[in-house]
Amino acid sequence: MDVLYKVLIEPFVFMGEAPDLLLQTLWEGLVSGVLYALIALGFVLIFKASGVFNFAQGIMVVFAALTLVGLYEKGVPALLALVLAGAVMLLLAFAVERIILRPLVNQPDIILFMATFGLTYLLIGLGELIFGGSPKEMITGALYLPQGTTELTLLGGPVRFQHLDIAAAIIASIIIAILAVFFSKTRIGRALRAVADSHKAALSVGISLNQIWVIVWFAAGIVALVAGIMWGARSGVSFSLQIIALKALPVLILGGFTSIPGAIIGGLIVGIGEKIGEFYWGPLLGGGIDTWLAYVIALLFLLYRPQGLFGERIIERI
């Protein structure tokens, strides 16, 4: 009975007793969720265009952020460094298309997936070679990102809002909205959907597969750059950031691998779910449950909706 009380009653009593802490937890979850969604978006873009789970998305986040900070450290002004980092991601998109994707066109998906493994280790090595292995500080001030904290008394207690978190949530939302509109309302977006359905059919109606791939990898690179700036500003730029990208996996399972709204909703469910879970139920299991809670949530969803919340149901003729 005691256990049941602790699991089913006590957390909710605590939520009622300290609503300010609940609000703080929800806010932290929301910020994490938006950032998870941003990383997941990079995966979705590439999966939509090529049907490949891009294992390299995590290291692209690190590589983009390191390029930005590295250029700044070399004396390049911050905003120019930002533009140049974007240009590097464009170069990477061209290189990936020319060196990896084009020779592997029409190969089984697993081959392309393995190619992204190779790309991951290539980028890790290249990043460490150029920028070294030591963590770097994101150039928050130089990029005019707000810093500081606002503490408000809400629901009977202090709730802290980091200005950077507010900016991260807003910027990530804008990027997500732009990409959603771009890929659903423009000609390129329609071409992308055609490519996602069938490479051969898309080619037969004159869509340039190579061009689409470059655009999509570039878009994923820009998303990685934004995610790198935001995560880097929160906790520094280091190679361990790439591991956070693994949190995008349950987000994708939840939201579906092909849905931009799914990535957003999935990100929010994972972000808020893991924070609420860790905060209210974590102590019962010795803490640290947020590490695996997202995967449990995703597994439960898989059982009932294998294609994810917004994923396309695949019906194949046998």
Binding site: Q24, E128, S134, P135, T149, F239, E274, G288
Partner: protein, 440 residues
């Protein structure tokens, strides 16, 4: 076989043979360094690797090695990964290493049973298995100058003194933020024992390696529990991440303390809010010591180091120097004990047991005032030396306490029980047969 294939084969054979030659040479001493300049822990590992390498290279450049014998220094990149660390060990053990430095508690643990078999001593300097301080049970493992349990007891003692006595800790809450790995879990038994004995509540906040830079959940829990003090056992990017999160969540920095692993970079990452953060340390910071100046002159200025000049003398760089100081002293002792110039792992094990770095010896080595004296013996492979508390003042570390002695009585009892337990659990754990040298 074509001429081309034959030529290629000869070139490859020559290259491979050439690569193996330095380690196998009879006129040198092979010192492998397990390092990590890549991966999530590179932020800590790089400085340590530089410090270790540069001190030994300085001895090569300045003195022609130790006792006139050149040191062959070879790094093996482990990435702080236990599997890779064991691979490094397997790769170097055939080259007659005189000692290995795993630089990871996770790597140290699987190497402990191998050390006696392969006759290669392990130096796990202030990390690893705390119980391995017992030289009578672990004759091949050394973890000077303090164990993690010593460190935890020193922090509790410091907090107790701040509160007006250890008895004042009754009813307090002490949070323990730790890497969820062998290293981070190592001091938990002692913390829980002390909590029971002194009447405080220990709250554990594990941080998984993949969440080192995503600690907001842990710090929300800290806000929920409101611990009176927070103790950190972190490594790599976990330290910087924790300091940032502590600042973000408004945790009072003067109540946030750590074991000896955060660096200047970690503290700097917290910005102005990190002022007041405290950590244990047992050696000097800065490059004013003559030995450090020799490193600058003989290694860094000659372009033989991977470090940049401004990093020489920083905390973790000097930690690496301390590590190599112990290696060098053990080799020198081994040469004296055996009368041999080119010593083996067995000799250096004896050299470690006869380490006696007193003030005069430290002065002779160009490290006067760098650290407290330390002497090891057959039974004591640690020294259980005191450490002091230092505080981040916003730009540098400032020493804020006298040396804090570990709680010897409590730690010793735990160590004895843990060492006995280890030997019992590992069936057939050999009884010590190695003889003690007179200097012990």
């Amino acid at each position: 076989m074509s001429l081309r294939s034959l030529s290629l084969g000869l070139v490859v054979a020559t290259l491979l043979g050439g690569a193996a030659l330095p380690a196998a040479a009879q006129d040198s001493i092979y010192v492998p360094l397990f390092t990590y300049r890549t991966g999530p822990f590179a932020g800590s590992g790089t400085y340590i690797a530089d410090g270790m390498h540069d001190y030994l290279e300085m001895l090569n450049q300045r003195d022609g090695g130790i006792g006139g014998v050149k040191l062959v220094i070879e790094e093996c990149e482990t990435g702080y990964d236990t599997k890779k660390g064991v691979e490094c060990y397997e790769a170097v053990k055939g080259k007659n290493p005189v000692i290995v430095n795993p630089w990871s508690t996770g790597i140290t643990l699987p190497l402990i049973p191998r050390a006696a078999v392969d006759k290669i001593p392990i130096l796990s300097m202030a990390y690893g298995l705390s119980a391995s301080a017992r030289g009578d049970i672990f004759p091949w493992v050394f973890n000077p100058p303090s164990t993690y349990w010593d460190g935890m007891s020193m922090i509790i003692k410091f907090i107790g003194e701040k509160e007006g006595g250890l008895d004042k800790l009754k009813g307090k809450k002490v949070g323990f933020l730790h890497l969820d790995a062998s290293f981070g879990k190592e001091p938990i038994p002692l913390l829980e024992e002390l909590a029971k004995e002194l009447g405080f509540e220990a709250k554990l906040y594990p941080v998984a390696a993949q969440d080192m830079q995503n600690q907001s959940s842990q710090w929300l829990s800290v806000r929920r529990d409101r611990p009176d003090y927070m103790i950190m056992w972190g490594w790599g990017s976990m330290n910087g991440g924790a300091i940032k999160e502590a600042v973000r969540s408004g945790y009072p920095m003067d109540k946030f303390l750590s074991v000896w692993w955060p660096s200047e970079d970690d503290a700097r990452s917290g910005g102005a809010g990190a002022k007041g953060f405290k950590m244990l340390n047992w050696h000097g910071v800065g490059a004013t010591y003559p030995a450090l100046q020799d490193i600058m002159k003989n290694v860094v200025d000659k372009g033989l180091s991977k470090t940049s000049k401004d990093k020489v003398g920083e905390l973790l760089y000097n930690r690496g120097v301390y590590n190599s100081l112990l290696i060098a002293e053990a080799i020198a002792n081994a040469q004296k004990l055996t009368g041999k110039k080119v010593v083996s792992g067995e000799d250096v094990r004896r050299g470690m047991e006869t380490i006696n770095l007193d003030a005069a010896r430290l002065k002779a080595l160009g490290l006067e005032g760098f650290t407290d004296s330390i002497a090891l013996s057959c039974t004591d492979h640690n020294g259980h030396r005191p450490a002091f508390m230092q505080e981040w003042d916003g730009s540098k570390w400032t020493k804020i306490s006298d040396p804090i002695e570990p709680m010897g009585d409590r730690v010793r009892a735990q160590l004895e029980a843990a060492a006995k337990d280890y030997a019992e659990k590992n069936a057939g754990w050999p009884k010590r047969t190695e003889t003690c040298d007179k200097a012990s």
